[in-house]
């Protein structure tokens, strides 16, 4: 978050020497605030002031990158309606090193299969957490190797034993796994291991006070690629900690907590676990580690994640070109709708259910719904006629009937005039399409 000129001025030497090229320190501070000058031109600024100014200019929550394209942190708001949430929660499935080689293979296959397509979007699971529970360092390294070979997803290596972790990490360091956990007992060895291998590391402590202490100590090792774990393992405590950490980093710029946060589910029943995870996805967890890897469990969780991380100012849109559903032919009906993804897929879903091969032409309304677009003058008969011409529908069907949404029945006369097609007023809600389609066929 940018500082004001006055806040910067407080940190300057106040010599008014003019060596920076600006007559006074206050004027220099103003120039810095507006980005017209660089702090380096002042020869007298102290190291402490430089640090304070640099960190104040840094984003409130550091962006941490690991694995296969996972980016976590770098958020600016507490409520999505204030701007947007930027980096969707990274979802990781837990895999214990107590599994046999064969079981590891089965689990990996299940995890790799967690890819979903719905309403034109593709979701896939982000990573695998290899958890050291066997007590055997060699076994842990072996399982980490098996997992690395068996998936190209992001890796999280979890062990409290620096020796086991090192054995597992070194062969896969090029995959840039997230590792953990550094605790009060082992943080020096752990953070140095992370530093040597340039991978991010989880800092774990019980409670926020202890976490603050440990982060400050760990930062003193001159490394800052951290992910925080406040140690809570119940839903209500984790929700509380996630809220405190996000608020302190954003509202107070409390630097020790300016890192992404990881949450672990505690419910052992898979469905309860997904419910718990949905709370963490909604409330600020950057990474959630899950046990279940069943498709029907993960799809609803990934859907709520996608929904909540949608930019409220930019509705998701479909391409405004002629779409076809089913095996279309020259008798297929033509439906008109808008390119707002929710609107389009509601129509497409119903048309699909009707089992009648059909064309759907979404009009480019900047991703607004039918009534919103109509009210804003983006769903005008001329525009629709133009889109019908441009898509070449006239050569694809032999009839000249076009179906419009019931809510814009009022444009039917004009549309029929400008397009030369017969305009059929469809149902108001897409849920009426199935019975409507029977009446026209």
């Amino acid at each position: 978050m940018a500082l004001t000129g006055l806040e910067i001025y407080k940190q300057l030497p106040k010599k008014n020497c003019g060596e920076c090229g600006v007559p006074t320190c206050l004027a220099f501070a103003m120039a810095l605030a507006s980005g017209k000058a660089a702090l380096d031109t002042c020869p007298y600024v102290t190291a402490a002031a430089r640090e304070a100014l640099d960190s104040a200019a840094a984003p409130p929550i550091k962006a941490i990158k690991f694995g296969n394209g996972s980016v976590i942190g770098d958020e600016n708001v507490l409520f999505r309606h204030d701007k947007t949430f930027y980096h969707p929660t990274t979802l990781i499935i837990r895999l214990s090193d107590t599994l046999s080689d064969e079981e590891v293979g089965v689990k990996l296959q299940e995890i790799n299969g967690l890819e979903f397509d719905r309403v034109g979007l593709h979701y896939s699971i982000d990573g695998v957490a290899v958890v050291h529970e066997s007590g055997d360092a060699a076994r842990y390294a072996k399982v980490a190797g098996l997992v690395a070979a068996g998936t190209d997803k992001s890796l999280l290596l979890l062990s409290s034993d620096p020796i086991a972790l090192k054995a597992a990490l070194v062969p896969v360091a090029s995959r840039k796994p997230l590792i953990g956990e550094a605790t009060a007992d082992n943080y020096e060895a752990m953070v140095n291991l992370a530093k040597e291998n340039s991978v991010p590391i989880i800092i774990k402590a019980e409670g926020l006070e202890a976490l603050d202490d440990l982060v400050v100590k760990a930062q003193a090792l001159d490394y800052k690629e951290f992910v925080l774990d406040p140690g809570s393992r119940t839903a209500v405590q984790t929700l509380e900690n996630l809220t405190h950490l996000r608020r302190l980093s954003i509202k107070k710029k409390f630097r020790p907590f300016g890192y992404p946060v990881i949450a672990y589910t505690s419910n052992s029943e898979p469905l309860d676990e997904i419910m718990e995870a949905s709370v963490y996805v909604a409330k600020y967890a950057s990474v959630v580690v899950l046990n279940t890897s069943v498709k029907s469990h993960i799809l609803p969780l990934m859907t709520i994640r996608q929904n909540l991380y949608t930019d409220p100012q930019k509705p998701i849109q479909v391409e405004p070109i002629l779409h076809s559903v089913g095996d279309v032919n020259e008798d297929s009906p033509l439906y008109i709708t808008t390119n707002f993804s929710l609107t389009y897929y509601s129509v497409e879903g119903e048309v699909e259910t009707s089992k009648i091969p059909s064309y759907i032409l979404p009009i480019d309304t900047d991703g607004t719904s039918v009534l919103t677009a109509y009210a804003a003058g983006k769903f005008e008969p001329e525009k629709i006629a133009e889109a019908m011409n441009a898509c070449g529908i006239a050569d694809k069907v032999k009839h000249r009937n076009v179906i419009i949404p019931g809510y814009v029945a009022v444009i039917s006369g004009k549309l029929s005039e400008v397009s030369g097609w017969k305009v059929v007023v469809g149902p108001r809600e897409s849920s009426g399409i199935v019975s409507f389609s029977k009446s026209i066929s």
Binding site: F79, R80, H81, E115, F116, D117, R118, V119, L208, E209, D212, D213, V216, T234, A235, V236, L239, E240, T243, H244, R247, L248, K251, K252, F254, P256, N267, P270, L271, D272, I274, M275, E276, S278, V279, A282, K283, V294, K295, S296, H297, I298, L299, P300, L301, T303, I304, Q306, N307, L308, T310, P312, L342, S346, G349, S431
Partner: protein
């Protein structure tokens, strides 16, 4: 260094609304349900209180519904008998309230008379002791007729009556006022209309603690994020002392979630989505979970398996 936590100090809280009335209060309910009263964002017990936990109303229809079989199977043959169905919801599945939807009143369907509707409401009232929410069909004019009859027949029960909307609220608000019921004010995902409607209803003389907001949510995957943000803003408004946004909120979770294809399509049709059983349950339960995170007080639900998950989630989040 010590950590100074950020605790918000809110100037106000969500209003409390009481549903139902016991025999002392002129009704026949065995207990009442109080919702609202929160002086904090949902489940943040460190800076305020959630005096009343969110409650679950299970949906009962006056005709056999066209729901998917995984839900219907859990109700067995009670589906054709609203009273028995309601009793099963309460006794077996632990519903806090019963949400009776009178689809049979629809002039294009069964076209049930107002007297018939009132009789069904009475039957359900005598079958269960929990407070009742009563909603009509899709026809505004017909709803006004049946609600007048129901409000009168159930005088003293303090029903939660639905639905008052911006262009049709007067007769139902009058019925609620005269016969001392509580009212659902529904607005189409629009916080300005929501507020305006509450003002209009309040101006007729219905007190603010007799109104519950229905923000008309979207289901998971189909616009839930719009409802999420509108409810979050409404809750922040209530805490900042905006009286016309201070009512508890009711969400039609079961209806919206089970409209989605993901809650109904079999695994044979969409192998990539996994088994329908758990997917359908979670589709409804996650819709509820998201609404709980932005301040829902009453969740209207269908699938008993989803109800039990949401109850557990609420219990987890209410434990201190």
């Amino acid at each position: 260094m010590s950590v100074t936590l950020v605790k918000e100090r809110y100037s106000s809280k969500v209003g409390e609304v009481v549903l139902g009335a016991t025999s002392d209060q002129g009704g026949t309910r065995t207990s009442t349900v109080t919702v609202g009263g929160d002086s904090t964002l949902p489940f943040l017990h460190f800076e305020g209180e959630m005096q009343n936990r969110p409650v679950i109303a299970m949906e009962v229809n006056d005709i056999v519904p066209s729901w998917n079989d995984t839900i219907k199977a859990q109700f067995g043959d009670t589906l054709s008998n609203p009273a028995a169905w309601a009793k099963k919801c309460v006794d077996e599945y632990g519903a806090d309230l019963v949400y009776l939807k009178l689809i049979g009143a629809d002039p294009e369907g069964e076209n049930r008379s107002p007297e018939d509707c009132a009789r069904i409401v009475k039957e359900v009232l005598s079958a269960v002791g929990v407070p009742l929410i009563v909603a009509g069909c899709d026809d505004d004019e017909k709803n006004n007729e049946i609600m007048a009859a129901i409000a009168e027949a159930a005088t003293g029960e303090n029903l939660l009556l639905g639905l008052a909307e911006q262009d049709n609220y007067k007769s139902i608000a009058a019925a609620a006022m005269v016969h001392k019921h509580t009212l659902i004010a529904r607005s189409p995902l629009d916080i300005n209309i929501c507020k305006q409607l509450n003002i209009l209803i309040n101006e007729m003389g219905l007190p603010l603690n007799k109104i519950v907001i229905d923000p008309m949510i979207g289901g998971l995957g189909f616009g839930i994020e719009y409802a999420y943000s509108i409810m979050e803003r409404a809750r922040l408004g209530a805490l900042a002392n905006d009286k016309m946004l201070s009512m508890p909120m009711i969400c039609t979770v079961g209806y919206e979630a089970n409209r989605c294809k993901e809650a109904n399509a079999s695994v044979d049709e969409f192998p990539g989505w996994g088994d329908l059983q758990d997917r359908g349950v979670l589709w409804e339960a996650i819709t509820a979970s998201a609404m709980l995170q932005v301040g829902a007080s009453i969740l209207v639900m269908r699938n008993p398996a989803a109800v039990s998950l949401v109850k557990k989630n609420i219990a987890d989040l209410m434990s201190k």
